[in-house]
């Protein structure tokens, strides 16, 4: 019964999506009101139907209805309720079901929030989103059907992948990731709609797009940081980023989206970079689909890989359609998108934004090339090569340093015009602080040039951004006589985009510091301890108190209880564990992490004697790692602040006017990077 409800809801949803797209072609002739009503109706119905399907699946999971194929795949009577519910997105079919639901949610929000806006832009946007939904619904009704019938009905199932049952963050990372990833469909839909409806030369669509992009970007940032935190707490090697292909897949659209959030400001103020921004939006979406393809097709082996199968070919077809439609539309309209470019002076914030875009795009290109290179090399040479952490760290560190530097320079320089003398005066203080920090860290901490550079640039960026708050608040105090705290709050409230942005910069700097410190100053120490024996770590002593085992419904747990001692007194107790699931032959570790503001003590149980006499413990000191999670939170807070501003901007928007200019000397910005030289 549940199975039929779920499956039929999806089948009808597919019909509605296809109907919406096709009927819109006819409705377009009957006028905008009819078109708008049709699209709104289709989108809302779609959302209702996908919600029914998701509810049906959750009900099936919770009630252990093993006659349904997805439940038989990931369900188990011995899995705790919490993890049963979140196994909704644990395997391929469920994840696509969840994807479609999130997509229909975004679509419904977009058409509902913008229902007052006249014209074809919003209905066309809705149609694009319906079209994308149709693809995923085809998958759900066809090769990735979660509501398949299983006969004879098994009495129990294997349960979700143990790695997904180990930590509460598994409830947080995928939904955030879907909200962010799928949310990038919205700016894409706006862009395609604007190109088709001829609205692209106006900037109204861009104003609408920017906020949706910022919202999706905020979710994506949170998702990436949550994913890093999850892998840190669960995988047991003490790292949080391995440049795994699927980690890269989530990072690539983040890079282009960040570039867009900056260059859109140049477009709003100067009417420039219109074509470039459309390229960024379209690239961001193409990268999200590429990422989904890589995860689900088995092309690259990865920790994240779902099952392989024919579904790869469906995604390949979809990528082909997305790429062709985007490239054709953007290139076809490229001439009409070009505007006149006018900068008042070369040294100004606009130039900094151009450089920011340069480095972010180069970053994206480097990561994309590294991720796909094993495939290219195999195609050309027939030999498999690996492109892993050493490559990515080496090639991207200089770009990160440059971006940190720009994060300071940008806020320091004014819009429109400045000159060398003014710039020097503004950058003298942050530069001086950076130099002092560099000297101190080189003398006191480390000779690692990368770490020193990271600290110096971070100090530079922090001073520049914090100073903006300081100066702004001081100006308000002078002008209005407000108390410092009030001045600060009012300052932010009056200019949320700007100060939200600076806050996001501060968050990024915190993340950079956490990454730099935990890479440069990490210490690792293995020891095999008998009961009562101690090992010394970071000024503490770790004593093995006991080694114990415990049976749980879905797994057997072996744990070591360690007493953390300082000066002979017990300060804390830590229990790293190993989990043996019935369905896996390799155990899944649960490291014990003691987090303090200045860093973590990370303990992993590596091995133990069967008779419980001794255990091998790996102790890692990771300085400043919590700053990564805190920094992520600050970035999202900054995004929230920026979003909370009013929808109408007060800065005059540069509408395009004037005759067509002759083609500018700029080459057509490339979407596809892997061209041989």
């Amino acid at each position: 019964m549940t199975r039929l409800v779920g499956y039929d809801a999806l089948a009808v949803a597919l019909a509605v999506a296809l109907f919406g797209v096709l009927a819109a072609a006819f409705a377009a002739r009957r006028g905008e009101a009819a078109l708008g009503a049709l699209v709104r109706g289709s989108v809302f119905t779609l959302f209702g139907l996908t919600s029914v399907a998701v509810l049906a699946m959750v009900f099936a999971l919770v009630s252990h209805d093993f006659s349904i194929s997805y439940v038989a795949q990931v369900g188990s009577r011995s899995t705790p309720l919490f993890f049963t519910i979140i196994s909704l997105w644990g395997a391929l079919e469920g994840s696509i079901l969840f994807w479609v639901w999130v997509l229909s949610l975004w679509a419904a929000l977009v058409v509902w929030r913008n229902r007052e806006i006249s014209g074809r832009l919003i209905p066309y946007t809705g149609i694009v989103l319906l079209g994308i939904s149709a693809f995923f619904l085809i998958l759900l009704v066809g090769p990735a059907n979660p509501f398949g019938l299983v006969t004879p009905v098994p009495s129990d199932g294997p349960g979700p992948n143990p790695l997904l049952q180990n930590h509460v963050l598994m409830a947080v990372h995928p939904p955030l990731l879907y909200l962010g990833y799928v949310g990038m469909s919205v700016p894409f839909a706006f862009a395609i709609a604007a190109l088709i409806s001829g609205d692209a030369r106006q900037d109204r669509w861009l104003r609408l797009t920017r906020r949706w992009t910022l919202l999706a970007w905020g979710f994506l940032t949170a998702a990436i940081v949550a994913g890093m935190w999850w892998s840190y707490e669960v995988l047991g090697w003490g790292g949080y980023w391995a440049w795994d292909p699927v980690e890269n897949a989530s990072f690539l659209p983040w890079l282009t989206a960040t570039a867009f959030l900056h260059s859109v400001m140049v477009q709003e103020r100067r009417g420039m970079l219109r074509l470039w921004n459309v390229n960024l939006i379209v690239s961001t979406y193409a990268l999200t689909i590429l990422g989904t393809f890589l995860t689900r097709s088995g092309v690259l082996s990865s920790v994240h890989a779902f099952t392989t199968g024919t579904i790869g070919y469906y995604f390949l077809a979809f990528i082909a359609v997305v790429l062709l439609v985007s490239l054709v539309l953007v290139a076809g309209h490229s001439e009409s998108l070009r505007g006149e470019g006018r900068l008042d002076a070369p040294i100004a914030r606009e130039t900094v934004f151009l450089l920011n875009n340069l480095f972010l795009t180069a970053f994206m290109f480097t990561v994309l090339l590294g991720t796909l290179f094993p495939l290219v090399a195999e195609a050309v040479r027939g030999v498999k090569v690996s492109v892993g952490e050493p490559f990515f760290n080496r090639m991207t560190l200089p770009l990160c340093a440059a971006l940190l530097f720009l994060m300071g320079v940008g806020p320091a320089l004014p819009w429109r015009r400045s000159d060398l003398a003014q710039a020097r005066a503004k950058l003298l203080l942050p530069g001086g602080v950076a130099l002092v920090v560099a000297v101190l860290s080189a003398v006191l901490l480390t000779r690692n040039a990368y770490a020193v550079a990271a600290f110096a640039f971070a100090a530079f960026a922090i001073v520049c951004n914090v100073r903006e708050y300081w100066l702004g608040a001081a100006a308000r105090r002078r002008a209005h006589g407000e108390a410092p705290a009030t001045a600060l709050v009012n300052l932010i409230a009056a200019n949320r985009r700007r100060y939200g942005g600076y806050l996001a910069h501060i968050g990024v700097v915190a993340i950079a510091l956490g990454v730099a410190a935990s890479s440069a100053f990490r210490k690792e120490h293995d020891a095999t301890l008998k009961r009562g024996e101690k090992m010394s770590v970071a000024g503490f002593e770790l004593q093995l108190d006991s080694l114990w085992g415990r049976e749980e419904p879905q797994r057997a747990v072996v744990g070591a209880t360690l007493r953390l001692m300082h000066d002979g007194r017990e300060v804390d107790r830590l229990t790293p564990r190993m989990n043996f699931y019935r369905t896996q032959d390799q155990p899944v570790p649960t490291p014990a992490v003691r987090s303090r503001l200045w860093g973590d003590l990370y303990l992993n149980l590596m091995a133990f004697e069967q008779d419980g006499s001794s255990a091998t413990i790996r102790a890692i000191t990771e300085p400043l790692v919590p700053w990564i999670w805190i920094g992520g939170g600050i970035v999202c807070l900054g995004a929230l602040v920026a979003l909370s501003g009013p929808a109408r901007k007060r800065v005059p928007v540069h509408e395009t006017t004037g005759p067509e200019r002759e083609p500018s000397p700029l080459p057509l910005p490339e979407l596809e990077p892997a061209r041989t030289a």
Binding site: G238, P346, R381, V383, V387, V439
Partner: protein, 140 residues
Amino acid sequence: MFSTRALAFSACVLLLCAFVRGGAVQARGQGRGDSANLERRTSAVASQLRCPVCQGLSIQDSPSELAVQMRGVVRDQLAAGRTPEEVKQYFVEKYGEWILLEPEAHGFNMLVYVLPLAAVIAGAAVVIVAVRRWSRPAPS
């Protein structure tokens, strides 16, 4: 009062002093023992070798048994006097090129190192040309 050039120069001098001084601090710890040195060299080489049974981890980071044993091989060979290059070459002969976490920089593989650099240079050129052209005073 201070010219930009003078400031830049003094900054470089200060940093240089800091590195030399900082280097002296580090060097004090070096004579501690060959075992610590061997461990460090083992970690350095192990971080460049891929764990065959994991997903993209190095044998330094991986907790799997094979990774531990491969680290043992690295340690033994380094202790026997082989250079890091020779140790890596040994593993390439056994497992193939994919055992290296970074592609060897010759032949076709050079593309993955050169293209990003070329992209940055080309992009920088584009930005410089664009900024120059856009900030030219408009013809009156």
